[in-house]
């Protein structure tokens, strides 16, 4: 349970970072005309991804044990 949630958060965070990175960078885009990100607020997604990954450590330590609930 604890490990599962933490691992999910790390994976989700890394996924968010990848989406955010490629959403913000028009690598491979066929036009140089516009330098806007492909996905709205993609840089925020990237930052969110970084935050989610490191928040996983807090979750891992702070998640209450199952017995106590």
């Amino acid at each position: 349970m604890r490990r599962g949630v933490t691992a999910t958060m790390v994976v989700a965070g890394i996924l968010l970072m990848i989406i955010g990175y490629f959403g913000a960078a028009p690598w491979g885009a066929d036009t140089v005309a516009n330098s806007d990100p492909r996905i709205t607020l993609a840089p925020t997604l990237f930052v969110l991804g970084v935050i989610v990954v490191f928040s996983a450590a807090i979750v891992y330590e702070l998640l209450p044990d199952r017995e106590r609930r």
């Binding site: 036009t31 140089v32 005309a33 516009n34 330098s35 806007d36 990100p37």
Partner: protein, 248 residues
């Protein structure tokens, strides 16, 4: 799609700086800004000296370092080759100005209203109004407030707002309406040629075919849209005759 370019014929340029003046009038730039700048060089020691001139607009590079480094995409390149600044997007980090090897970027260090020419003049004075017809500067070219290009950004005239970067726009507001940039239009010796380089029948394409154009600072790999013919690339041995005296 048109691909705009400019040819500067150094054999024709006589260093009159009318282009600088025209740019200032057209784009209402403040005192210290020279979107178009003409170097006046002196070479050698007296009496064996030689003068030469070098107009330096923004080079509108195809591999523009300023576009690459802009952290928010305020500086961007249009498909027709014009490199523009979106003053509503610019955060004022001035990174573009450092990435540019040509030094064409000008930053609004203060409110443009505080940096215009002739600030001390009493515009209500009858002697003055007889000349100005009652117009009180800063005069603002109304075309600057319109949106341009596919991406519809307010890019003409550089925005003129405190804390953002601006530079030569190839007079995008004129070019989109079928006119030439102000500097080209004004040049009395036709040293500046502007047009579509992708169309082989334009005057600029014929110019490029007939002469051997070179680029400024070719070694930096910026692939400029501005080409030079005649003369030779400047070296650091050249010294400017005078330095622009401008108050920032």
């Amino acid at each position: 799609m048109a691909k705009y370019g400019m040819v500067v014929d150094l054999e024709r340029c006589q260093g009159c700086r009318a282009c600088m003046e025209a740019c200032k009038v057209e784009n209402n730039t403040t005192e210290s800004m020279f979107w178009m700048y003409v170097f006046r060089f002196e070479e050698g020691t007296y009496p064996d000296t030689k003068m030469s001139f070098l107009p330096r607009p923004c080079q509108h590079c195809d591999n523009a370092p300023c576009v690459k480094v802009c952290p928010v995409g305020a500086r961007y390149k249009r498909e027709d080759g014009i490199v523009l600044t979106d003053p509503d997007r610019c955060i004022g980090c001035r990174y573009c100005s450092l990435a540019c090897p040509y030094g064409v970027n000008y930053f609004n260090y203060q409110k443009p209203q505080d940096a215009y020419y002739a600030l001390g003049i009493d515009w209500e004075d009858p002697d003055v109004t007889s000349v100005t017809g009652g117009v009180v500067p800063p005069y603002k070219n109304p075309d600057h407030d319109l949106l341009y290009g596919e991406e519809q950004r307010r890019t003409a005239g550089g925005g003129h707002a405190k804390g953002v970067m601006e530079k030569c726009t190839f007079c995008v507001h004129r070019v989109e309406n079928g006119m030439l940039p102000a500097c080209v239009e004004t040049c009395p010796t036709n040293a500046l040629v502007f047009g579509d380089v992708s169309d082989p029948d334009t005057p600029i394409s014929r110019y490029v075919r007939a002469r051997e154009p070179w680029h400024l600072l070719e070694e930096t790999g910026t692939e400029p849209s501005v080409m030079y013919v005649g003369g030779k690339p400047p070296t650091l041995a050249l010294t400017e005759i005078e330095r622009p005296k401008a108050r920032v």
